[in-house]
């Protein structure tokens, strides 16, 4: 049977609950946006139920600390077939009563773990690479272009770090934005045409200068630098903007 869910994480967790409930051995799960081309399967529409979702997550947490979070991270990739990998890993985890992510010798778990790693490491990169521009008193904005939909994973970090500010982080890839104020934070969708942020203030200039001089000239290693700061992220990193301008190096 093909289980169709509403595209939310609680939806997918509800689907898992029902599959275990029906003891369905040949189940597949897909979000409603992807499932048109599978019309020859028998379909079942899952109604998202928070309590069921919560029970699955609580069960997963018992198998290992952080297992639901890691499932969530992998799921955020929204890649095709991710739900089935999750289901396979969850089945194995419950079968052996172990943290499913330790069963890496299984192809599907290995693939799922790899996806979670990719999404997780990009989320971590966004904690590193967000660059705010000051637009007014306690008012800041930043643009990012991540490959994955990682905003839900970074909002809390920035909200806790700047509890007094109002700020916005725009994800120009997925056209969503974090809006944060002293009262809380949320994610909203945004228009595709966004005005660029001004990057020419005095602190932007000083940061660029500092970035330039802090490197030890005799140990220049652009290859290594690129390994840590891939080119695809540089278009929104203040210190890499205007790199083509002639720069004078002091000793």
């Amino acid at each position: 049977m093909l289980y169709i869910y509403d595209g939310s994480f609680d939806g997918v967790m509800t689907a898992v609950f029902e599959i275990f409930d029906f003891k369905d051995k040949s189940a597949m799960i897909q979000p409603e946006t992807q499932s048109e081309n599978m019309s020859f399967y028998e379909r079942h529409r899952v109604i998202t139920d928070f309590r069921r979702s919560f029970r699955v997550q609580a069960g997963l947490e018992k198998l290992g600390k952080g297992v639901p979070e890691r499932m969530y991270t992998a799921w955020l990739s929204h890649s095709e077939g991710i739900e089935d990998l999750m289901l396979a890993a969850i089945r194995l985890g419950f079968k052996y009563r172990v943290n499913p992510f330790t069963l890496l010798q299984d192809e599907r778990v290995h693939a799922l773990d790899g996806i979670a790693k990719k999404v997780g490491s990009e989320a971590h990169r966004m904690l590193q690479f967000v660059r705010f521009v000051k637009l007014g008193d306690e008012l800041y904005a930043a643009d990012i272009k991540p490959e994955y939909d990682v905003l839900p994973m970074i909002g809390n970090h920035f909200h806790k770090r700047f509890p007094q500010s109002r700020f916005m982080i725009r994800d120009l890839t997925h056209l969503r934005a974090i809006i944060s104020s002293p009262h809380g934070w949320e994610i909203t969708s945004i228009q595709s045409a966004q005005p660029p942020l001004p990057q020419n203030g005095e602190y932007e200039r000083m940061w660029k200068k500092y970035f330039e001089i802090i490197a030890i000239e005799q140990r220049r290693n652009l290859k290594l630098q690129q390994q840590f700061v891939p080119k695809k992220y540089r278009s929104f990193l203040t210190e890499f903007l205007g790199e083509d301008l002639p720069t004078k190096r002091k000793g």
């Binding site: 939310s8 994480f9 609680d10 919560f54 997550q57 952080g66 639901p68 979070e69 890691r70 052996y96 172990v98 943290n99 330790t102 069963l103 890496l104 010798q105 290995h110 997780g120 490491s121 971590h124 904690l127 590193q128 690479f129 660059r131 000051k134 800041y140 905003l151 839900p152 994973m153 970074i154 970090h157 920035f158 806790k160 700047f162 509890p163 007094q164 005095e202 602190y203 932007e204 000083m206 940061w207 200068k209 500092y210 970035f211 330039e212 001089i213 802090i214 490197a215 030890i216 220049r220 290693n221 290594l224 630098q225 390994q227 840590f228 700061v229 990193l237 203040t238 002091k250 000793g251």
Partner: protein, 449 residues
């Protein structure tokens, strides 16, 4: 009068040879201001030399009255322009950078301007503005100036997350020769003081929960490697002692960069290879996380690390009688000794073999680096190495194939994480876990739908 920007250039340049940039291990936070310590540490960018930038690393002043031969800021160096930040200037710069998410905080060190006490007072003033006026809760690491009044150390310890005192050089003789105004005793005293003050603070906090934390991220130290003839054995012994005696969180090594001419210093044509620094970090890593002892890694007979091979491989080559080990039965300690098996993969092996016996093919998926491990283990009795463990070609096979030299060092996966990321011992998957801790309760993320 210099502008803040000019001072930043001079004092950033003066601080850039400092090795440590770690910003982890503090959980400071407050709602009335901004900033917090991130337990795992965050690097915000990487400079053109491939080093991570996590903190604004500057000197308070480089107008130093001392004359350490290995230092660019020594008073006899007439080529260096001098500058001193006003506390207000540096506090504001730090806050503005932090609010733009450029940095995790401040790493403040200084030359000795006028006297050690005067210098410390300038630093304290800067931190007080940051903590009390701006209500800044981000990370601050301060280098204590040897010779300063212990009471000033107490004050700054309440404001900073981490303190460090540089041991500078691996031996007392070297210190006498190259840094005549500094004394081992003057360096050891504040280390001892910090250790005791931290202990006292822990006890105070048991009684009065509200008393402020003293250097919650502990203390570290740093030494320059390659400016003097000291061997790796004496360096590793010293660093072992530092960990034991003063509860050091880290001992940093910094390959000497030729910045001065002194009859006792190596010439500018022969800088210390970065590779030596790298090997020392690997050895340090083995001591801290792999339960190796300094004397197992190097000994009187061969007191220096093998530059061509990482210290774990060279240890294994000297103890071939222990290999190959069977991954399905070996205990944790023994697994950790296998080249190519890390802490993480050893734990994964233990977890995975609960469900079934492992094949050689499973190991790669568990994170084992088979390039090295293949020669040292069997799975279900099967050996998959290209050459036998007792083969005379084993060393040859283990050598990294790329040409040796300064530049080849950093172009690959051989790089230990801590070096590149600047924070302590985290692998990508751990940082994922760290990100996860920031997740709002999963069902609370309904805002997105």
């Amino acid at each position: 009068m210099l502008t803040v920007e000019q001072k930043l250039i001079i004092l950033g340049n003066a601080a850039k040879y400092d090795a440590s940039c770690s910003s982890s291990g503090s959980g400071r936070a407050g709602k009335d201001g901004f900033g917090n310590g991130h337990m795992a540490g965050i690097c915000h960018t990487w400079a053109a030399d491939g080093r991570c930038i996590s903190l604004l690393k500057v000197l308070m002043s480089n107008a130093c009255i001392y004359d350490c031969a290995y230092c660019i800021n020594r008073c006899s160096n007439s080529e260096t322009p001098r500058a001193t930040f006003r506390p207000e200037e540096l506090a504001q710069l730090t806050a503005e950078f932090y609010k733009r998410n450029y940095i995790e905080g401040l790493f403040l060190s200084s030359g000795v301007v006028k006297t050690p006490d005067y210098t410390m007072e300038l630093m304290i003033k800067t931190l007080q503005i940051l903590r009390y006026e701006y209500r800044f809760y981000g990370y601050i690491h301060v280098k204590v100036i040897p010779g300063a009044d212990p009471r000033l150390v107490d004050v700054i310890g309440m404001l900073a997350d981490r303190l460090s005192v540089n041991i500078e050089l691996p031996s007392n003789n070297s210190l006498k020769l190259l840094a005549p105004q500094k004394e081992r005793a003057g360096i050891i005293a504040p280390m001892e003081h910090i250790k005791l003050a931290k202990k006292q603070n822990l006890e105070d906090r048991k009684k009065y929960r509200s008393s402020p934390l003293f250097a919650p991220a502990g203390q570290t130290t740093q030494m320059i490697v390659g400016a003097t003839p000291d061997t790796d054995l004496s360096i590793l012994r010293l660093s072992k002692g530092m960990y034991r005696k003063f509860d050091m969180k880290r001992v940093y090594f910094s390959a000497y960069m030729p910045v001065g001419k002194h009859p006792a210093l190596p010439s500018a044509e022969k800088p210390t290879p970065l590779l030596r620094e790298h090997r020392l970090y690997q050895a340090d890593w083995l001591m801290r996380f792999y339960r190796f002892d300094a004397e197992e890694i190097v000994d009187e007979k061969s007191p220096n690390l093998d530059i061509e091979l990482d210290p774990k491989c060279s240890w294994a080559l000297r103890h071939l009688e222990m290999f190959p080990v069977e991954v399905n039965t070996a205990d944790y300690e023994l697994l950790l000794r296998v080249p190519g098996v890390g802490v993480k993969s050893a734990q994964r092996i233990l977890a995975a073999r609960k469900t079934r016996r492992l094949e050689a093919e499973d190991l790669r998926k568990l994170g084992v680096v088979m390039k090295r491990a293949q020669y040292f283990l069997t799975a279900k009795g099967r050996f998959v190495g290209k050459v036998k463990t007792d083969s005379p070609y084993l060393r040859q096979s283990l050598l990294e194939r790329r040409p040796m030299g300064q530049l080849s060092l950093f172009d690959g996966s051989a790089l230990p994480d801590m070096y590149a990321k600047g924070y302590e011992g985290l692998h990508i998957s751990d940082s994922t876990a760290a990100v996860m801790n920031m997740l709002p309760a999963i069902s609370a993320i309904k805002t997105e739908i």
